[in-house]
Amino acid sequence: MDLDFTPWEEEFRLRARAWLAAHVPRSPLPSLETEEGFAAHRAWEGELAADRWSVVAWPEEYGGQGVDLVSWLLFEEEYYAAGAPARVSQNGISLLAPTLFDHGTAEQRARVLPPMARGEVVWAQAWSEPEAGSDLASLRATARPVAGGWRLSGQKTWSSRAAFADRAFGLFRSGPRAERPHQGLTYVMFPLDAEGVTIRPIGRLDGKPAFAEVFLDDVFVPDEDVIGAPGDGWRIAMSTARAERGLTLRSPGRFLATADRLVRLWHAYGDPADTALRDRVADAVIGARAYQLFTWAGASRIRAGGTLGAESSLNKVFWSEYDIAVHEAALDLLGAEGELTGAEAGAAAPGTEGQGVGDRDAKAQDRGDRGAEGQGAGDQGAKGQGAEGQGAEGQGAEGGCGDPSAWTEGYVFSLAGPIYAGTNEIQRDIVAERLLGLPRGRR
């Protein structure tokens, strides 16, 4: 039992670190949830891809470096530690690509993966429907067989990235509801700019259009964009990469970086005597380390030929609650500043002077306002974090740990954690039934 990495792995880590140090933008990119920001993040994917850093764990033929899970985790630690931008291609890379590796054809992989790796085609996920959140068996949108392909109709919702993405993937009902209600679903990739597709953005809690509703009215999709056998979509979606999904949905690098920022915030602004807050900062450090080591243990098991299965539900419950607790601690540490978005309020206020003029407390102002001032007025300070994105907080050397807007945005984002990718209620049911062997009950 050890935590030692091979010389090659150590060298890989240092190569990643060096590349990131040279390439990560010095100022945060504009928000991923704006057209401009989406384009900037897409360009960043291209920059990553140019040196084969966008999908390091993929085979070289698709643009990767062919490294294994352990090296990917090391890359992720470096990526977040460097404060690099959010990954606009996350949906495609972490959800669609593993499915193609397991169930796609060679033709599909060759056609879909390279442009995904370069950020040329950005993918949205389209799992949910208005009446089907946790309960995928009640999906209603349909795929109707026609000559040479399928016609899609119905409504998807909470489709992350769909406001600006190129294509999407999801499940469609292609047959009657069978005895087992998950049967009769087909896994389809479809264009978001085709005739019959209407996109209506949905603002998340802070108003940013991180999701969209997608209306499909007889949208044609050729047979080549169906993954696996028609009617087999649910099994394909569920089985894909289960072995690694629990370890890769949220990499520990993200939380290690967040905990590190919190520790710096604590050391910079915390009252050393305030043990109530200190204990929460400590829990952030402890939790990030636990998550890292839990992941190393899982990766070791996979390396040794094992699988994870229902343990990814433990993982989901842990990181989603952890993420909220860390951000709550940061907001409490920031005090009154922990309410700010970093933006100016929209309307000019009567009796209000211009920026910074006459500020009686320049020092406090400097601390509190750094984020907003560094990023200009308006909404630009927002770091892109789609509800299923894995983006870093854009907290490089200049962002600093004390920028309240990054913490308040991270807080809003963290609140989605226990809801998506299977609510924590469902995850706890799974833990109890599959790991503890408790009887199913009717819940």
Binding site: S128, G133, S134, D135, A137, S138, T157, W158, I202, G203, R204, L205, D206, G207, F211, D274, A276, L331, D332, G335, A336, G338, E339, L340, T341, G342, A343, E344, A345, G346, A347, A348, A349, P350, G351, T352, E353, Q355, G356, V357, G358, D359, R360, D361, A364, Q365, A372, A387, T408, Y411, V412, L415, A416, P418, I419, T423, N424, E425, R428, R443
Partner: protein, 344 residues
């Protein structure tokens, strides 16, 4: 001992509830967030008609106060309807001016209180020790700053900044401006204003928490997953039961603090502030989780209460700050140097 709202106060609450329901306060809050204060001002006028702004100041200044229980009743409803604006601040400003007058500094009260009491003036203020920002200065005609033993009429604020709760805007008062009062009366008046601010905020939290619970209960009754109402799952039921426990034990603290507001000591008002803030926040967390994705959408009105619960939790000082105030002070000479469990 009759620790129950009487019929008159219940009727007052009902009339506010009716008025605010009719006013479509979610739309008002969204307009306020977008910088359009006109609908909010209209609500403000209707609130003035019910006498909400007369409850702090006494008869000398056209008020009917001090009536802290009525203030608590009103702010529960204001929270329940997510009414935007410097409501707590206007009440606290009235308390500040009233107490200054009671301590002999009558000029500011004579000049400013009547229009506050009439609902014609919106005020905002910053008090010592509870953070540098004033709320909604862009919608207030009176910005009071209390510090260093002075009450100032601030000449404006440093730029106005956005809160994560969109209808709230925060700004630091500019230095300078007219000194309205100074001297020994100021500190006591500031403390008196803070008591009212904390009480009103606690009541507002209670209303926010109750609205979140009500909406969530309604939602989980009608939303089905796996063929049954979400509200029939035991985990959902227990989480909402715990929310109700939190709110129902915060409620008597809020009204208890109102009854004893005039007494010495911070205990009751601090307890109310802590318990109501925590209960509202717990309600918000449960509401978001049990609504699922729809609750996370800014277009859905739930977001108005969700974000407000977080913002109010820290308004007028952190919960930890108020926990400290809730403790009775140490009797002198009682403290020993170390804990018995540590090597002496």
């Amino acid at each position: 001992m009759r620790f129950l709202l009487d019929d008159e106060r219940r009727a007052f609450a009902r009339s506010l509830d009716g008025l605010l329901t009719a006013a479509d306060t979610p739309a008002v809050a969204r307009a306020w967030a977008a910088g359009d204060h006109a609908p909010g001002a209209a609500v403000w006028r209707r609130l003035a008609d019910t006498g909400v702004f007369t409850l702090v100041a006494g008869e000398e200044y056209e008020g009917v106060g001090p009536l802290p229980v009525d203030v608590a009743v009103a702010f529960v409803e204001l929270g329940r309807h997510a009414v935007p604006g410097p409501l707590v601040e206007t009440a606290a400003a009235a308390a500040l001016l009233t107490r200054l007058a009671e301590r002999g500094v009558t000029a500011p009260a004579k000049r400013l209180l009547p229009s506050l009491v009439a609902g014609e003036t919106r005020a905002t203020l910053a008090l010592p020790g509870t953070g540098p920002y004033v709320l909604d200065a862009d919608a207030a005609s009176l910005v009071l700053a209390v510090e260093a033993g002075q009450v100032r009429l601030a000449p404006g604020t440093v730029r106005v900044r956005a809160s994560r709760d969109p209808p709230r805007r925060l700004a630091k008062p500019l230095p300078g401006g007219e000194v309205l009062a100074s001297g020994p009366a100021v500190a006591g008046a500031a403390r008196w204003a803070l008591r009212w601010a904390a009480l009103a905020t606690a009541a507002q939290c209670l209303g926010v928490g109750a609205a979140l619970l009500d909406r969530t209960v309604a939602y989980v009754k009608q939303r089905t997953q796996f063929g049954v109402p979400v509200g029939s799952f035991q985990a959902v039921k227990h989480r909402l039961a715990d929310v109700l426990v939190g709110l129902e034990f915060a409620r008597p603290l809020v009204f208890g603090a109102a009854v004893t507001l005039h007494e010495e000591g911070w205990g009751d008002v601090a307890a109310a502030k802590v318990a109501a803030a925590e209960a509202a926040y717990r309600s918000a967390r449960a509401a978001l989780q049990l609504h699922g994705a729809i609750g996370y959408s800014s277009a859905y009105d739930l977001s108005l209460w969700l974000l407000k619960a977080r913002a109010l939790r820290g308004a007028w000082g952190s919960v930890s700050h108020w926990r400290g105030l809730s403790l009775p002070p140490a009797p002198t000479g009682s403290r020993r140097p170390v804990s018995p469990g540590h090597p002496g």
